[in-house]
């Protein structure tokens, strides 16, 4: 059963904004799946039914979309989704060792979530950070030029300090190395969960909100 009525007022407002941005309601399925993921913690069947109700699609139509894209996590993920790029350029510079170190440090196999629900670990295909290889993302926020040892430190830091907002620049400064290009000034927005951080979805947290 749909639990749309339980959605926060904020999420409903954002859903309406997204729906009005397209000439066709169906086009809002992808952004709505992100908003639903934020609201419900995963893109499970309930979330898919919510999106079906919002767009006028059947639950099966929404599921066909949700199951196609890797970033819709239908079974939920831990507090920190650590994605390790293992595509060609990162591979050439030791990404498999970085992945191995992260798996070992978090005691979480590739593709799984730790028992305490803190970490989910996945290897991913190219994330467009080849000049700063090897690269990882935490809740889709980037760290470039990482090493095995720094990757372990990153995991220990996440576990120990449990940042509410994951900030690329902060992680890059603490654990990163070579970047693909000069990042410029630090970004004060980051991720509050394993949903890409965007104002439109309500998934962007600000540094000033960090306790």
């Amino acid at each position: 059963m749909s639990r749309l009525a339980e959605w926060s007022r904020n999420a409903r407002l954002r859903a309406n904004e997204v729906l009005s941005a397209y000439p066709d309601r169906r086009s809002a399925v992808m952004p709505l799946l992100y908003i639903a993921a934020l609201e419900r913690g995963s893109v499970d069947e309930g979330a898919q039914r919510d999106v079906a109700e919002l767009t006028g699609l059947t639950a099966a139509q929404v599921q066909s979309v949700a199951s196609f894209y890797t970033m819709y996590k239908r079974h939920g993920v831990g507090e920190y989704l650590v994605s390790v790029c293992t595509s060609i350029s990162c591979f050439l510079l030791g990404a498999d060792d970085v992945l191995g170190a992260i798996i070992d440090e978090t005691s979480t196999p590739d593709g799984e979530t730790s028992e305490d629900n803190v970490f989910s670990i996945e290897h991913v295909e190219c994330i467009g950070s080849c000049g700063g290889a090897p690269a990882v993302q935490v809740n889709y926020e980037l760290v470039e030029g990482i090493t095995e040892e720094k990757a372990r430190e990153l995991c220990r830091w996440l576990y120990g300090s449990r940042p509410k907002i994951v900030l690329s620049d902060e992680m890059q400064q603490l654990f990163g190395g070579t970047c693909s290009f000069d990042w410029g000034p630090a970004e004060e927005s980051g991720a509050i969960s394993a949903v890409p951080s965007l104002e439109a979805y309500g998934s962007a947290g600000r540094e000033s909100q960090q306790p």
């Binding site: 992808m30 952004p31 693909s180 965007l198 104002e199």
Partner: protein, 429 residues
């Protein structure tokens, strides 16, 4: 060195993405001028005269593509920011460091194409790029560069940011349109081409981020002046993403025409730890590989790269040194295509899976003497004749792209593959 796309971010490294910096360096004056003084046809004519070719991978002339639009409305313009070809990270820099340049380029292009609604499709793994675009769009709307009656011209344009969710295939233009329509990102059979029947079945132009980021310069300086930069068939500057075993990886905006030797050894600073260069991929994971003996003195141009059996593609140059196990490298690229295959066409879905499995068998120390022929046979079933440019049995070029690493290692490193199979040594488990 002439820089067009990266001029502002080079000069103002701290705030090139800010609206104030953009406006202070002449930003949006070209849009103001074009809306006041130029007809839509005149804008299209400048882009046609510039000889600009698409920077997403196919190198198709932008002006020619624009000319395919029938006189039907509404029309849509879709900006492809789904940069996912392994090795490519140039569009990310343009999105993050100069978002207003792209937005002005979109506004100029949309005005020329008589489009009132454009979309920017940013890949889901680029949230920072998306946030910069999101903010820049809000700023541009606030200043009246977007929205109703732009700068009092009577022209309306809305731009919608659409975030992908992790699917390389959505970089294929028709898959992208399906994705924006809220469907699975599966490619469509062409024809009809998007220009005739695209987004919501309306005439649609799909262009890459770098392509459209060139448009403000072209309109400001004239198409012919753009065409005059660099070799005739490779006009303008171009962004290359250099990665792998080089000393200075990064994005380089260059005028095409230098040799690969200069590109790798001067721009890239040569190979790390002074090792020997083994091979490189000149245009993204889909491109056939080059080797030092044959290709170091080939000029970096669209035509010369094609003549030598490869492509500049998305501008991603991936360098491998002598320590690289080419079977492992080929496996890593094939695994990518296997993972990203949408599963619609049998030769791609089955073929990429089998290529991956056979390569894994070799890497596991269990290769068989028939495996080299088997790899070529599977490849031939995905792309008959194993020619370049590849023949296609599938709806989109993803399947045929997976064949490039196979034909490359067979052409240049056959003895090494043979030796690996014979040794029965596992390098991964």
């Amino acid at each position: 060195m002439t820089s067009i796309l990266t001029a502002r971010m080079n000069e103002y490294p701290r705030d090139s993405h800010e609206l104030a910096t953009y406006e202070a360096t002449g930003g949006y004056t070209i849009l103001r001028k074009a809306l006041a003084e130029m007809s839509p046809e005149a804008v299209v004519e400048e882009v046609r005269a510039s000889s600009l070719k698409g920077r997403g991978g196919a190198n198709f002339p932008t002006g020619v593509k624009w000319g395919f639009l029938p006189p039907l409305y509404p029309r849509y313009l879709v900006i492809n920011a789904d940069e996912s070809e392994p090795g490519t990270f140039k569009d990310r820099q343009l999105l993050e460091r100069d978002p207003h340049q792209l937005i002005e380029g979109i506004a100029l292009s949309a005005y020329g194409l008589e489009v009132n609604h454009a979309f920017i499709y940013v890949r889901g793994e680029y949230p920072k790029s998306a946030r910069r675009i999101e903010r820049a769009l809000a700023e541009a709307r606030g200043e009246g560069y977007l929205g109703k009656d732009i700068l009092g011209s009577g022209y309306d344009l809305e731009i919608t940011l659409h975030l992908g969710a992790g699917a390389y295939i959505c970089g294929e233009e028709t898959a992208m349109l399906n994705s924006i329509e809220g469907k699975r990102g599966e490619p469509r059979i062409k024809p009809p081409f998007p220009a005739v029947e695209g987004l919501y079945s309306k005439p649609t132009i799909v262009n890459n981020v770098e392509t459209i980021s060139n448009v403000p310069w072209i309109i400001a300086n004239g198409g012919l002046n753009y065409a005059a930069i660099g070799p005739e068939a490779s006009a303008g500057t171009r962004m290359f993403s250099l990665s792998g075993h080089v000393k200075r990886p990064g994005n380089y905006e260059i005028i095409m025409g230098m040799t690969w030797r200069d590109f790798i050894y001067d721009l890239g600073g040569g190979i790390r730890d002074e090792r020997a260069l083994k091979c490189w991929i000149p245009g993204g994971a889909s491109a056939p590989w080059f080797i030092p003996d044959l290709h170091l003195d080939v000029p970096v141009t669209i035509d010369d790269t094609a003549t030598h059996g490869s492509m500049l593609g998305s501008g991603a140059v991936i360098v491998m040194d002598e320590t690289t196990n080419v079977v492992a490298a080929a496996h890593r690229i094939v695994r990518f295509f296997s993972h990203e295959s949408c599963g619609l066409c049998t030769p791609c879905r089955e073929g990429t899976t089998w290529l991956e499995n056979v390569l894994l068998r070799i890497l596991s120390g269990q290769g068989r003497s028939i495996d080299m022929d088997l790899l070529l046979d599977i490849s031939d079933n995905i792309s008959p004749g194993l020619k370049w440019p590849p023949a296609q049995t599938t709806i989109c070029p993803l399947g045929p792209s997976s064949v490039s690493p196979i034909t490359s290692i067979m052409a240049y490193f056959r003895a090494e593959v043979e030796e690996m199979i014979a040794s029965q040594e596992a390098i991964i488990v």
